[in-house]
Each structure stands twice: as structure tokens, then as C-alpha cells.
Symmetry: C2
Subunit: 84 residues, 2 copies
Amino acid sequence: MNIISTIGYLAAFATTVSFLPQALKTIQTKDTSGISLAMYALFTAGTFLWMMYGFLIGSLQVAVANVVTFVFASIILVYKIKYK
Amino acid sequence: MNIISTIGYLAAFATTVSFLPQALKTIQTKDTSGISLAMYALFTAGTFLWMMYGFLIGSLQVAVANVVTFVFASIILVYKIKYK
């Protein structure tokens, strides 16, 4: 694994894992007043497109990262709609 | 521009633009109680790494999207630290 690939995996790890504490916080507190509905609607759709793009260009970093981020973002979006 | 490239640009547009309504909402309301500090600390670092990765693999979609997302995420992170 070369340096470029390692940077890709670190990037994928950081941005993917970052949505876990947000999802957990949102599930536990149901405090979504400061969270933007427009952001999560657009972001969830965007991660779905990134997922497709990653698979199509053959970048496992882009694809796998966005599968996981899509799941976390969807949870936050559902809570935002339910507890706005 | 082929279909794969178009999906990449749409993905980049959606996830990048998504942080704008969140940044604006956070700036206007200063309501950061529901926002996770761990998320934005990790996410901001992650977008910086994606930016490097995008330039290194020659994907303008990955690179440019993450330059803009890095700026928006940094603003939200600063507000979260200042108004927690």
C-alpha cells in the first residue's frame, strides 16, 4: 500500500467515523434543533452518489467510506424529521 | 463529460453544498447543542485528507469538493468550540 492509498484510507476513516458520534448524540439526546434539515437531506443524497462514483471509478476508499457514511447520515436525517 | 464524471460532479455538488445551510444556520442561531464536537473535529481533519487524496489521484471532483467542505466544516467547528 503506497502513501497515496494510505492517505485515502485515513481520509475515509476520519470522515466516515466522524458521523458515528453525531449519530449517537442525536439518538441519545434527540436534540436536533441545531441540525440543518437541508444539510442532511442533501448530504444523504450526496453520499449515495459518491458511493456510486467510487464503485464506478474503482476507488474502494471512496465507495466503502460512503456506504457507511450514508447509513449514519440517514439515521440523523430520520431523527431530524421525527424530532424537529 | 461521461456519465461517471457527471455522477462524481453531482456527488461533489450535493455533499459540498449541504454544509452551507448548516454553516448558515449555526452562524445565525449559534445553536450548537445538538452538534457533536467529536464529529466536526474528525470531519474537518478528514476533509483535509480527502483534499490531498483527490489532488494525488488526479480526481478534481474529490479535490475541489473537499476544499469547499473543509471551509464550511471549519466554520461549524469554530462555532461549536466558541458556543458549546
